[in-house]
């Protein structure tokens, strides 16, 4: 009996130790380095570290812009937007790039989250119908089955708002069915007629289109101007290492500027970083290229001298829209979750030098 107790005690001790190991693991990396160098862990919202849209970060890292600002940035794949947000809130990452809906949901349930740099905006979500299917406008969706990406997906709020605008009750007049993010299950659902329309992120429909499945875009214009993605962090991190985050904003702005000067250079870097995303399909089309092309428009800032600047009004509309879908959400002021302390500093870099850099870039792939 005694030895049994010992065993039980040993297991318990291991359990307690392991659990308390959590804090120590989360703290390293925060305080090393001398007076000038900082390190940051950036949780990227995908199973791969980069997607074809995230060239601003990749370029800054590859070209050593973070490094010259005294920053060691570790980009890590967090799995997805929700997972990136979780780890950010848990304190295991200093920043992350979860999508706007994940950011909005976190803000609306009262989490400590802040957008310190808007990376891209516009045309996040769309409402699509198969071409030649007879539906020509949103009103035509009454009584239909509408596919969404996943339960609680970011597009649901937009879809519901668009339906309400034309007098369709999103709960009783239509049926929402999760059919995935443009992969095989989505094609199967559309192809078999299980759904009559599909609401999702814009990027999700490329695969369908290249597979020869043409869709008509019914998205009302007002839903095309929302902020899409930013550098999301927490007030706690901003208080703890404002210097590091400030430099991170500048480095990212530099990366974006470089890529806008020479997009092909960044496409080239991206192909090296995530070759499988640029793999051509049987028709010789690569998803990576399509997504890269769209992202050039989405990341392009309204004012090239204010890269990373927020759209406060758009963010407020966006938050209010999501809030309208559930009584559990609290009211949030856009200004309270947008931090523009670093935007000005971020844009004070030598543009001429970067233009020269961009011109001098030598291609690696083909």
């Amino acid at each position: 009996m005694k030895s049994q107790l010992k065993i039980a005690a040993a297991i318990a001790a291991v359990g307690v130790l392991a659990l308390s190991g959590c804090t120590t693991a989360a703290e390293d990396g925060a305080s090393d380095g001398g007076d000038e160098r900082y390190s940051i862990t950036m949780a990227m919202a995908s199973t791969d570290t980069y997607t074809a849209e995230w060239w601003g970060w990749l370029a800054a890292q590859n070209l050593g812009y973070y490094d010259e600002l005294g920053l060691d940035v570790e980009f890590v794949a967090a799995g997805g937007s929700g997972a990136a947000m979780e780890q950010l809130i848990a304190g295991n990452a200093d920043a992350g790039n979860p999508s706007a809906p994940a950011f909005g949901e976190a803000a609306l349930v009262g989490m400590d989250v802040v957008n310190m740099f808007t990376y891209s905006s516009g045309a996040i979500f769309g409402i699509f119908v198969p071409e030649g299917g007879g539906i020509t406008d949103i009103e035509g969706l009454r009584g239909k089955n509408i596919g969404i990406s996943e339960p609680g997906g970011g597009e649901v709020a937009f879809l519901e708002a668009a339906l309400r605008d034309v007098g369709i009750d999103p709960i009783t007049d239509v049926q929402l069915i999760p059919i995935g993010s443009g992969g095989p299950e989505t094609l199967a659902a559309l192809d078999s007629g299980s759904v009559d329309a599909y609401a999702t992120a814009y990027n999700d429909i490329f695969a369908l289109q290249t597979a020869g499945y043409n869709l008509t875009d019914l998205t009302p214009a007002i839903y095309n101007t929302f902020p899409a993605r930013g550098i999301i962090t927490t007030q706690a991190v901003l208080d703890e290492k404002p210097e590091a985050m400030k430099e991170f904003a500048r480095g990212t702005a530099m990366g974006i500027f470089f890529c806008l000067e020479n997009p092909d250079a960044c496409r080239d870097m991206m192909k090296t970083a995530i070759p499988s995303a640029f793999e051509e399909n049987a028709d010789g089309i690569s998803q990576g290229d399509l997504r890269f092309d769209l992202s050039l428009k989405q990341v392009l800032p309204a004012d090239i001298n204010a890269i990373g600047a927020h759209d406060v009004e758009g963010t407020q509309e966006f938050l209010d829209l999501i809030r309208s879908t559930s009584p559990d959400y609290i009211e949030v002021e856009a200004a309270s979750v947008l931090n523009d302390d670093f935007i000005e500093y971020a844009n004070e870099f030598d543009r001429d030098r970067l233009s020269a850099d961009a011109e001098a870039y030598e291609m690696v792939n083909e």
């Binding site: 040993a10 199973t47 094609l187 399909n281």
Partner: protein, 283 residues
């Protein structure tokens, strides 16, 4: 994600799995022809059905399309990197899982009291998809390959643990009594009686742990943060609706799994043979 049942250790004498036959024997007794014929039928159907228009060709590419994609995959620059990432994670997870499972089995298996007490917990946890623990593991171990290795360890240690525990209790009461009458120490009973008896069953667990470590790593790569790997590749290609490449990756996964099981079979038979022989000699 799934557990495979062990064949009954009590059935050692009438073991159902026949001795692995040579290819020559298999051709002579006809089973190889059945295998080949089955493969041919599958390939022909695979080639013809997508062309008939009965099913969507984008979702179900023909056999030749898939082979072409397979060649494309093998010719790519990234493929070896992803394969290495997956396989090294599997190797590490398997070793840790086996060691941990064996240690747990010995610690708890020698005490029926503790074993009985924790059984309900073990069963409840067994029926839970371990992927739900992914966020916690990432929080614990960071974003690198450690978290996916940990997930695979949690999935794969279980059969080793249970098989060790059960295996150590296999000797009959008379055998225990005999050793006790000879004033054997607990240690001696363990080393001379329990462990040798348990080895065939433990090896079954070790073998299953290998397959589970493999599927565990793949699942972690598909559903959670993963640091690359074959699972991430499969997911990437599926999201592009590049199904030829997706099936090419699945094909690789299946080949590896079958290879792993075959290697484990050989090792198992060697070890079990050795342990049974050495037991026989001591008697």
């Amino acid at each position: 994600m799934t557990l495979i049942a062990s064949p009954p250790p009590g059935a050692k004498a009438t073991r159902n799995h026949p001795k692995k036959e040579s290819l020559f024997q298999r051709i002579r007794n006809g089973s190889a022809w059945i295998t080949i014929l089955t493969i041919v039928v599958i390939v022909v159907l695979w080639q013809i059905i997508p062309q008939t228009g009965l099913i969507n060709r984008v979702l179900f590419p023909t056999f030749t399309d898939t082979v072409a994609a397979f060649v494309q995959l093998l010719g790519s620059s990234y493929w070896w990197g992803d394969l290495t990432k997956t396989m090294s994670a599997v190797g590490i997870a398997w070793v840790i899982g086996v060691a941990f499972g064996f240690a747990m089995g010995v610690a708890l298996g020698t005490s029926p009291f503790v074993r009985t007490a924790i059984t309900p917990y073990a069963i409840a946890v067994q029926a839970l998809p371990k992927v739900v623990l992914a966020p916690l593991l990432i929080g614990w171990l960071g974003f690198g390959s450690e978290s996916k290795i940990a997930l695979a360890v949690i999935i794969c240690f279980f059969p080793v643990w249970i098989d060790t525990m059960v295996g150590l209790s296999l000797p009959s009461a008379n055998e225990f009594k005999l050793l006790q009458s000879l004033k054997a120490s607990k240690r001696q009973v363990f080393l001379k009686l329990q462990l040798p008896t348990a080895i065939p069953l433990i090896m079954v667990g070790v073998k299953h742990a290998l397959l589970l470590a493999f599927t565990g790593v793949i699942v972690a790569e598909i559903l959670a943060a993963s640091d690359g790997g074959l699972g991430t590749l499969a997911k990437e290609f599926a999201s592009q609706l590049n199904m030829g490449m997706t099936y090419a990756v699945v094909f690789v996964v299946v080949i590896i799994a079958v290879t792993l099981v075959s290697i484990a079979d050989v090792v198992e038979r060697r070890v079990v043979f050795w342990s049974e022989e050495s037991r026989a000699r001591k008697r």
